[in-house]
């Protein structure tokens, strides 16, 4: 190879490999939506669903089957709140719309906003667990020392695999950016859509 040919060949290699490296950098970021899509399709990371109340009421109730739903609560260490389920567990028929409550109390002297993030175990049951109403759909804001009961209305899809008899729904409350005054409980939709 002559020197000029050599230089041209080197440039070609550099160009192609640089493109490959940049593409792989992009691929690293593409893993983020890919991961969400993958989890969405397979329903494996415990993200529960949301449906309209009419759709929930339209489901046929499977009277012959009982599923135990357990409720758990965790507070992130940066959020000085008390947070707990009002009932530890309920037994429901698949297809039956059920309402329960969680309780949260702000232990400080300031107004604080929090965001609850749900997770269901076993993960594979998550896509059969739908909520029509949940305190996790929006940010919750509590005044100094304020406590409140927060509703959760859900329905277990009758298509839930037979081997599942018991599911655990866990919420973790995180500190959220304070909500602007007067806009309490309004949802920051783009962000929340990805949670729910």
């Amino acid at each position: 190879m002559s020197a000029a040919e050599q230089a041209a060949a080197n440039r070609k290699v550099v160009k192609r490999l640089t493109i490959a490296a940049v593409a792989m950098f992009g691929f690293g970021f593409a893993l983020v939506p890919l991961y969400d899509v993958f989890c969405d399709i397979t329903g494996i990371n415990g993200k529960t669903g949301r449906i309209e109340l009419e759709a929930a009421l339209g489901q046929t109730v499977d009277e012959d089957r009982m599923v135990t739903v357990e409720f758990l609560a965790t507070v992130s260490s940066d959020l000085p709140w008390e947070f707990k389920p009002m009932v530890k567990k309920v037994k429901v028929h698949p297809g039956e719309v059920t309402e329960v409550h969680y309780y949260a109390m702000n232990k400080t002297g300031n107004q604080i906003a929090g965001q609850a993030v749900p997770s269901l175990a076993p993960g594979l049951a998550a896509k059969y667990f739908n909520k029509t109403e949940c305190f996790c759909f929006t940010r919750q804001s509590l005044g100094p020392g304020e406590g409140k009961q927060m509703p959760l209305r859900f329905v277990v899809d009758p298509a839930l695999p037979d081997e599942v008899h018991r599911v655990s729904l866990s919420y973790t409350f995180y500190q959220a950016e304070p909500v602007a005054a007067g806009k309490e409980d309004s949802s920051d939709s783009a962000q929340l859509d990805s949670i729910l």
Partner: protein
């Protein structure tokens, strides 16, 4: 080379003198030397951190350092050894040897080569400087899992992130250079399937690096924006997912472990035929095995995540895929053994290191298989068993291969034979102490001692003490190695061109020490 003001007495151009020689050099031998020295210094720094770790673990209870600093030490030790010692060391070997082995006058892109090296000291300094910052250095483990490395990490983490970016740039540029050299600079007649195996393994490794270093850069970039710019890639509070971090990290991380071992496979495949005085058994199967290990390394990464609550189907898939990697790996071990079979073997120092590699790396491979079995890994995960596994593959694997490479090629680099007596002392000292150091970690791991913990319960005390004693001895052996290196540079028996009786290959056709410029007219390869 414009800074060269003096011509020395040789016919060809020698090296320009002074500090500027090293800063402006574009010579592959100079740059190889720089890389090797950098790697060795990092090995000593990382080794000193390991001594702190073993001192603290000598006895149960907290004696030497506070827990946060202990965690900083395990983290920095891992980072320095992986990114500072093993990877640059292998690149140093590549710089010295690849042009010599394929009959090229230099690397294809000499200026970029200079850059690839000179980024490193800055990245290394930045990484080490975090130790002196307020809040301490990174203490979240070399795998820097979120949210430990995002929400709960010290401020110095941003410097760590920047250091990783720079290291990534260096590796990618180095890899582009190696690929361009292999593709465009081979001597006439040197077909791909005639290339020495060391060149092949590095060629494949370079592709791995280009594929995964950018993903690592992406991961740390996401960390950076999570930490400073309000994104939530890895934070559940904002809709992200910390487990996502582990996916991105291990997509890089598993190929990374092969990046560290494939060039070592290449070194061993050079040393064993020389001292067995036989051609490497199954050359082409070696090439294919290397390529398939590289390919498989992309599709097994979640064996590091068996305990994250993957669905059973995922566990099964990653279990079978992981165990499949053992097949091409076993092909290699088999070929090395078959090369020695009925060879007229002699046991000069490089061969001793190579044989130790074959034995001890295989132990690490076996424990890898054990951990690849998903249900069994539930017990092993995050215990000292893992620590034993990866030190067998990385210390008695990658590092031993590099030390073997030093004893093998140093006569070519320096023109002086390394003292066989000192080399053998170094070998036996290291090989015994390294087993005293790491073998007991299998036992305490199986008994349940967690990794990355400064204190432990009493039943682990005896083996920890043994392990620490082995550790101190092994550390000291490497200081002795420094002595050997300096002594050999200073003088020693003059080396012939061929150096070793059974050595074949282009690098053994040039004089020892290899002149500053070699193969300016390409050799003819039959």
């Amino acid at each position: 080379m414009s800074t060269a003001t003096t011509h020395d007495e040789h016919h060809d151009h020698g090296a320009p003198s002074g500090l500027m020689r090293w800063i402006t050099t574009t010579n592959h031998k100079d740059i190889g030397t720089l890389y090797l020295w950098f790697a060795f210094i990092m090995l000593l720094i990382g080794g000193a951190m390991a001594m702190v770790i073993r001192a603290e673990l000598f006895q149960p209870g907290l004696q030497v350092v506070d827990p946060h600093f202990f965690n900083t030490m395990t983290t920095m030790h891992g980072l320095i050894m992986v990114f500072g010692a093993i990877m640059p060391g292998m690149v140093g070997l590549a710089n010295w040897q690849i042009p010599l082995m394929i009959g090229a006058p230099d690397m294809a892109l000499p200026r970029m080569n200079n850059w690839s090296f000179w980024i490193l000291p800055f990245a290394g300094t930045m990484l080490l400087s975090t130790l002196f910052m307020e809040g301490g250095g990174p203490a979240f483990g070399w795998t820097f899992y979120a949210p430990l490395s995002t929400t709960f990490a010290p401020a110095s983490t941003d410097f760590f992130i920047f250091a990783v970016h720079m290291l990534g740039f260096s590796s990618i540029m180095g890899s582009i250079n190696i690929i361009a050299t292999v593709l465009n600079m081979r001597a006439p007649g040197m077909t791909l399937m005639k290339m020495p195996l060391f060149v092949w393994t590095w060629f494949i490794t370079a592709f791995l690096l280009i594929a995964v270093m950018p993903v690592l850069a992406g991961a740390v970039t996401m960390m950076l924006t999570d930490r400073n710019f309000g994104t939530s890639f890895f934070s559940a509070a904002g809709g992200g997912d910390p487990v996502l971090f582990q996916h991105v990290f291990w997509f890089f991380g598993h190929p990374e472990v092969y990046i560290m071992i494939l060039p070592a496979f290449g070194v061993i495949s050079e040393i064993i035929p020389t001292f067995a005085r036989k051609k490497l058994f199954g050359y082409s199967s070696m090439v294919y095995a290397t390529a398939s290990i590289a390919f498989l390394s992309f599709i097994v990464y979640a064996h590091h995540m068996f305990t994250t609550g993957m669905p059973v189907a995922g566990e099964l898939y990653f279990m079978y895929a992981t165990i499949m990697i053992a097949v091409p790996t076993a092909v290699k071990v088999f070929n090395w053994t078959a090369t020695m079979w009925k060879g007229s073997m002699t046991f000069e120092t490089p061969m001793l290191w190579a044989i130790a590699f074959v034995f001890l790396f295989t132990i690490g491979g076996f424990t890898g298989l054990m951990m690849g079995i998903a249900p069994a890994d539930m017990q092993y995960h995050d215990t000292y068993f893992i620590v034993a596994h990866f030190h067998y593959v990385l210390v008695t694997g990658a590092l031993f291969a590099m030390i073997g490479a030093f004893y093998y090629w140093m006569p070519k680099w320096s023109g002086h034979m390394v003292s066989e007596r000192l080399g053998k002392i170094h070998f036996w000292w290291s090989v015994i102490s390294v087993n005293v150091l790491f073998f007991p970690q299998h036992f305490i791991g199986l008994a349940g001692m967690p990794r990355r913990i400064p204190d432990y319960s009493l039943q682990f005390a005896d083996w920890n003490m043994v392990s620490s004693l082995g550790g101190f001895a092994f550390g000291l052996a490497q200081v002795f190695f420094l002595f050997i290196i300096i002594k050999t540079i200073r003088g020693g028996k003059a080396a012939t061109s061929q150096v070793w009786e059974g050595a074949h290959g282009l690098e053994w056709t040039v004089p020892s020490p290899a002149p500053y410029h070699t193969f300016e007219t390409a050799p003819e390869v039959r």
